[in-house]
């Protein structure tokens, strides 16, 4: 069993064969960077109490280097005056669990969290390795969301339709 350096095809095939519903688009930038994005959308998840999106972003640089970025977004929001409390909560999570990387981001009116994982895939990937990495990320993402729901880290703001930051519509 080997790896393929056509990582975009590996990801697409693996998602297809595993029956994931996803959108795909490709963006070529002026500096020679190409981004292949796969957006895997989930509906509201009762256990995590949020909608969840996964964005798989394969970045290919002009020198051939490839990075697979996986992002998890959710629809939990927090007040700006809870910034310190939220940063503390994220750090406490990281101190207890091994993954994923969690980041607090400030939007105009609210704070939000995002989960991330990144892999250098210049040498290629197999479908099996990709699926194991993606499965591990989804599992860790659920751990994070459940932990945030179950611990006293500050009050979430009920999701408002106007606050939800949808990614740009992918081009099929």
């Amino acid at each position: 069993m080997g790896v393929s350096t056509d990582v975009a095809t590996v990801i697409r095939t693996a998602l297809d064969q595993s029956k994931f519903s996803f959108f795909q688009r490709s963006i070529s930038e002026d500096d020679g960077v190409r981004v292949d994005e796969f957006l895997v959308r989930y509906n509201y998840d009762r256990r995590a109490k949020t909608e969840i999106d996964y964005l798989l972003s394969l970045v290919t640089y002009a020198d051939g280097a490839k990075i697979l970025d996986i992002f998890g977004s959710n629809t939990h929001f927090y007040e700006h005056d809870q910034r310190n409390q939220l940063l503390e909560a994220l750090q406490q999570y990281l101190s207890r669990f091994r993954n994923p990387k969690v980041v607090m981001r400030a939007l105009d009116t609210v704070l939000q969290t995002r989960t991330e994982a990144h892999y250098p895939v210049t040498s290629g990937l197999s479908e099996e390795i990709f699926l194991a990495l993606f499965s591990d990320f989804r599992s860790a993402n659920f751990s994070f969301l459940r932990w945030m729901n179950e611990t006293d880290h500050g009050r979430q703001i009920p999701a408002d339709d106007d606050d939800i930051q949808d990614p740009a519509p992918p081009e099929e």
């Binding site: 790896v3 040498s123 390795i129 990495l133």
Partner: protein, 146 residues
């Protein structure tokens, strides 16, 4: 060895990686591979790493990096801001803080599920990248006002 062939994660991959990079490691009693790097002016610290290869059905690679640099516990809020900013701006590494008395230690970590196997090239990219990016993080921290 075909470096692009996917093989089960094993200690032999780590041994081959140590040979390739000419690292001299120590072995702890609980089977961790320990790497030490002497003082760097750029990073303003010494660095150590603990690498563990968990073999078997749930195989994963687990790495921890830490330095001899300590921070005041009163700087915790500033450190949390710096860490979040770094996490938001750079892909690697994952950074955690640990408070011990009135001192704070920071460590970097990497845990990758390799239950589906790994090629040596990918293993090398992941592990070498972690060391390089951890070093970059400590250079960054040395320039921060914390």
């Amino acid at each position: 060895m075909d470096e692009n062939e996917v093989v089960p994660l094993s200690r032999s991959l780590l041994d081959a990686w140590l040979v390739k990079h000419e690292f001299r490691s120590q072995q702890s009693s609980d089977n961790r591979c320990l790497l030490s790097f002497s003082y760097s002016e750029d990073a303003d610290c010494e660095l150590e790493y603990s690498i563990v290869v968990h073999e078997g059905e749930d195989a994963f690679l687990s790495v921890r990096g830490w330095s001899d640099k300590k921070f005041r516990s009163t700087d915790r809020p500033s450190l949390l801001e710096v860490i979040n900013e770094y996490h938001d701006s750079y892909r690697w590494p994952l950074i955690r803080i640990r408070e011990q008395g009135r001192r704070i230690n920071m460590d970097t970590s990497l845990d990758v599920d390799l239950s589906a196997g790994v090629s040596f090239t990918l293993f090398d990219d992941i592990l070498s990248g972690f060391l390089d990016n951890t070093y970059s993080f400590w250079i960054y921290i040395s320039k921060q006002d914390v």
